[in-house]
Structures are given as C-alpha cells and as structure tokens.
C-alpha cells in the first residue's frame, strides 16, 4: 500500500541567478495526499514547477514510477500522468469550459478515459456542469478553480499536483474545494498539495513536508506536524 510513486532527490532549481531549491528531498506515496507547507519564498511552488518541467532543475533527480523523468519535456510528463493544476488557474480564457476540459484529456492515455472523466468532473463539480458551454474567462474565481482542478482530473493523473488552490477564494469556497479533494482522496487519487492555507492543508493531508529556504526542514504524518508547537512557531507562523 505504501508505494512511492514520485520521489524527489537533492533537487536544486531556481530562476536565473537566484537559486531557490537547495537539495530538496521528498516522496509522494501512492493513494495519499501529501502536502508541502512553508513560508512564502520557501520554494514550494518552485518544487512543483521543477517536477513538471516549467522550471529546469539545475541538479538532482525526479523519479516517477521508478524512472528518471528529470529532463523530460513538460508535455511528456503530463502524458505519463504527472499533472499539475497551476497557481492562478491558467485556464484557456477564450475557450469554453468544455473545451478546457477536453484539452485536459489531450494525451493519448487520457483520451481513452475522456468520457468517464468528464462524468466524474461533472459529478464532483455540479457548478462546472452547468457552465460547460460558457467561456472559461467569464466564470467567477471559484468556478475557474473548479474548472482548473477538473481539467487536471481529465488528464487521468497518477499524481495530481495542486498549487495554491485556495488563493483568492472566499473561506467558504476554499472549504468546499478542500471537501472535494477529500472525496477525491478517498476515491484513491494521489495528490501533492502546495497550499498557503496551512490549517486546511494539514487537516486534510496524510503526510506533510515543511519547507524552508529551499530545503525540507521536517516531515512526518500531517497530524504530528500540525501538533508540533516549535514547528508551528518557527516555520508556519501559527
């Protein structure tokens, strides 16, 4: 049951002259919800972007299902099932919601499950179902986030990475989305979550990594991390 599906070893990455990750190590276990928490600038988003290839790592390895995928182009990783829902949603604004979802299922592997996954998305997000023919850019922020997650689900992910899902959403909407994540997790989805809302993330996750200054400072079952007073003070500002 505790199979490691994604493993990051000594990852180093940054933007131009600025190095952000200094040898980050972490593992994602199949079927679990793993979260990375930490202060702004700790390297959480950079970690996800390095995994997808949006940022080219300067050192270290990314192992997915036993294969080194560090240097693969982003679209190849998506084909394999390493899928990210990016920060800021990044929908195709002048395409309809349905077209956005169809694009989620672009890869040959995901295409085979397109009809089933569309049904699934409509089941988890009834609001999205009502808006299929609308242009994605005209939706509210919360609806757009639902489409973004839905688009990720359409890719038939083996690991779904979600970057700052609750950013800019009302507390109520954020709670609803987290509820959906919980259901998805119960259905067996493997998730790697980066989230500035530490409370929600730790309450939901199985396993947590605390990132600071580009390195993992602590890891453990999410509940233990949440209960560790020193960690809360030193890294999470709680």
């Amino acid at each position: 049951m505790s199979d490691t599906i994604l493993q990051i070893r000594n990852l180093e990455a940054g933007y131009g002259e600025v190095q952000v990750l200094w040898g980050t190590n972490l593992q994602v276990t199949s079927g679990q919800l793993t979260t990375i928490v930490g202060a702004n600038g700790a390297g959480k988003t950079t970690t996800l972007r390095s995994i997808t290839g949006w940022v080219r790592p300067s050192g270290g390895q990314i192992i997915f299902e036993g294969d080194d995928i560090t240097r693969l182009p982003t679209y190849r990783k998506a084909e394999l099932g390493v899928v990210m829902v990016p920060e800021g949603r990044q929908l195709f604004g002048d395409m309809t919601v349905l077209e956005n979802l169809e694009m989620g299922a672009f890869s040959a592997r995901a295409r085979a499950y397109q009809a089933r996954n569309l049904e699934k998305v409509c089941h988890y997000f009834p609001r999205v179902k009502e808006r299929l023919e609308q242009k994605a850019g005209t939706l509210s922020g919360g609806e757009q986030q639902m489409v973004a997650v839905g688009r990720g689900l359409m890719s038939e992910p083996k690991v779904l990475m979600i970057d700052e899902m609750s950013l800019g959403l009302s507390p109520l909407l954020a709670q609803q989305l987290f509820q959906t994540l919980k259901e998805l997790r119960e259905d067996g989805l493997t998730t790697l979550l980066v989230e500035q809302n530490v409370h929600l993330a730790l309450a939901l996750a199985d396993h947590a990594y605390v990132l600071a200054e580009g390195q993992v400072q602590l890891e453990g079952p999410a509940r233990e991390v949440a209960d560790n007073d020193e960690i809360r003070k030193a890294y999470l500002g709680l």
Binding site: W54, A78, P86, L91, G93, E99, F106, S107
Partner: protein, 287 residues
C-alpha cells in the same frame, strides 16, 4: 450606376482573397506572436507554384490550388524549425528580422530563377454579364474558394482536437504543456497552416492577374491593412476586414485613378490604427 455596383461586387470578390491572405498572417501572429515578414514572399511563391504546376504538368489551375496549399504547409513547417523556433518568446525584433531574412532569401532565389518579369496563368471561365458589364468568372471562383478555405479553417480550429490544441497553445502555451499538448510541434503546425493559407491565397491571385516574384509585397501590405481592420490575431475579423477593404477599393475605383488606391488604403490604415487599435471587429474572441 450599374458600373458602380459591378465595381463594388468585384471589390468584394477580391476582398475575400485579401481576407484569406490576411488570415494566414493573423493566424501566425495570434498563435505565436510572430509578425511574419515572409508572408508576401510566400504569397509570391504560391503564385509561381501554381504557374509551374499548370505549365509543366498541365493540370487544371483549380486542381493545382490544393497542391499548392499542401506544399505551402510543408514549407512553412520546415521554415518554422529553421528560422522561427529559436526566436519564439524572444524580443519581437528577432522574429521580425528572422522572417524578413527568409523573405529576402526567397525573393532573391525567385529573382534568379524567374527574373522579375511578369508571368500569368491562363484560366478560361465564363463570366457573369450584368448589362454591358461582366464579372469575370475566375474572380467569382477564386472568391468562393477563398471563403471555403476560411470556413474550413474555422471548422478545423473549433471542431477538431488539433485545432482546439492550437487555440489552447495560443491562449496559454505553458498551461497547454501541462495538459500533455506538445506545444512546440503545435506551433510548427500552426505556422505551416498560416504559410499554406498564404500560398493558397497567392495561387488564387495568380488565376486573376499577371504576377512577378515581387508581387507578394503589395499583398503583404494589404494583409497588414486587413489585419488592422479586423484586429491582429483574429481570423474571423481578417475575413471581414478583407471584404471591407475590397468594398472600399471597389467603391472608390470608378471615381479615382488606380494610383490613388494605395494612398486611400494606407490613410485608412493610419486612421484605424489611431482610432481603433484593437481592430473594428471582435469576433470569436473573448478578450
């Protein structure tokens, strides 16, 4: 009065072809933010490709048009990898210079091969008589073909998986990669389609007028006027812009000498740029 109406109809027929040519330009810009200065050279190549197919192989010009389109696509696909791929996402001047260089090479080689003297393709097509005026048959066919190609492109972009992927890459290239869309390959295909359309437009123009290897330049300029009318990056707007430009040409030509046409067109170009920088039409785009 009939003369003016016939002139306007002729203008609209030509306008459809201007619109098609401009679609090639605006598609490339819309998808990859590259202003293709080799556009006119590709139109001219389309003219000569038609000429060669007709004079060497003796095929019917209208059957040669799709061949020119496919050839243009393949050529554009290759040019993308050679000259455009490395400058995508760099300063705009880079892609302007790269495509301008391609244009110079093509026109240079074309001049060596065919000199700059005019060629023409003979097309026999009965015209449509209105009183003592005639609307030439080849103009009607060319306009119909142009509109059919434009409609086919629209259907492709909105109803096929690859077409939607092109729109997705145009909208957000980074995000499209996250969906498993190989965005570089999609850009190469889009560039190929843009060039293929330019070549088809050139081959249609070749069925109407005599041409030289330098003829592409004036159609490239018209394409710029059309895209400014229709909004850069907007294919549906480009077709409407082309028709509008044709309408203007048709309406003024009975009253002024031909030399005035570019003066009027480009005055309009400047006025529209100042008053409506986003174009007159905003069709099919959410923004």
């Amino acid at each position: 009065m009939t003369g003016v109406i016939v002139s306007i109809i002729n203008g609209l027929l030509l306008g459809a072809i201007y619109g098609l040519a401009a679609i090639g330009l605006t598609l490339i810009f819309g998808v990859m933010k590259v202003i293709n200065l080799a556009h006119g050279a590709m139109i001219a190549l389309g003219m000569f490709a038609l000429y060669l197919l007709v004079s060497w192989l003796g095929i019917n010009p209208y059957l040669a048009v799709p061949v020119v389109g496919v050839g243009g696509f393949l050529m554009g696909f290759c040019i993308y990898w050679i000259a455009v791929h490395r400058v995508i996402g760099r300063a705009e001047l880079m892609s302007l210079l790269a495509t301008f260089a391609v244009s110079m090479i093509i026109v240079g080689v074309g001049t060596v091969l065919w000199s700059t003297s005019p060629y023409n393709v003979q097309v026999d097509m009965p015209g449509l008589s209105i009183g003592r005026y005639t609307i030439p048959g080849n103009h009607i066919v060319a306009a119909v073909v142009a509109i059919l190609v434009a409609v086919a492109l629209y259907l492709f972009l909105y109803y096929t998986r690859l077409g939607k992927a092109i729109r997705a890459v145009a909208s957000n290239r980074q995000a499209s990669e996250l969906m498993g869309i190989p965005s570089t390959r999609v850009l190469a295909i889009a560039f190929g389609i843009g060039i293929g359309i330019a070549a088809v437009a050139g081959s249609l123009i070749a069925t109407l007028f005599p041409f030289t290897i330098l003829s592409g330049a004036s159609y490239e300029l018209k394409s710029f006027v059309v895209t400014v009318l229709g909004g850069l990056g907007n294919p549906a707007g480009a077709l409407l812009g082309g028709l509008l430009l044709g309408l203007i040409e048709g309406s003024v030509s009975p009253f002024v000498s031909v030399s005035w046409t570019p003066v009027i067109e480009f005055s309009l170009f400047v006025v529209i740029l100042i008053l409506f920088p986003a174009g007159l039409f905003r069709v099919g785009r959410g923004r």
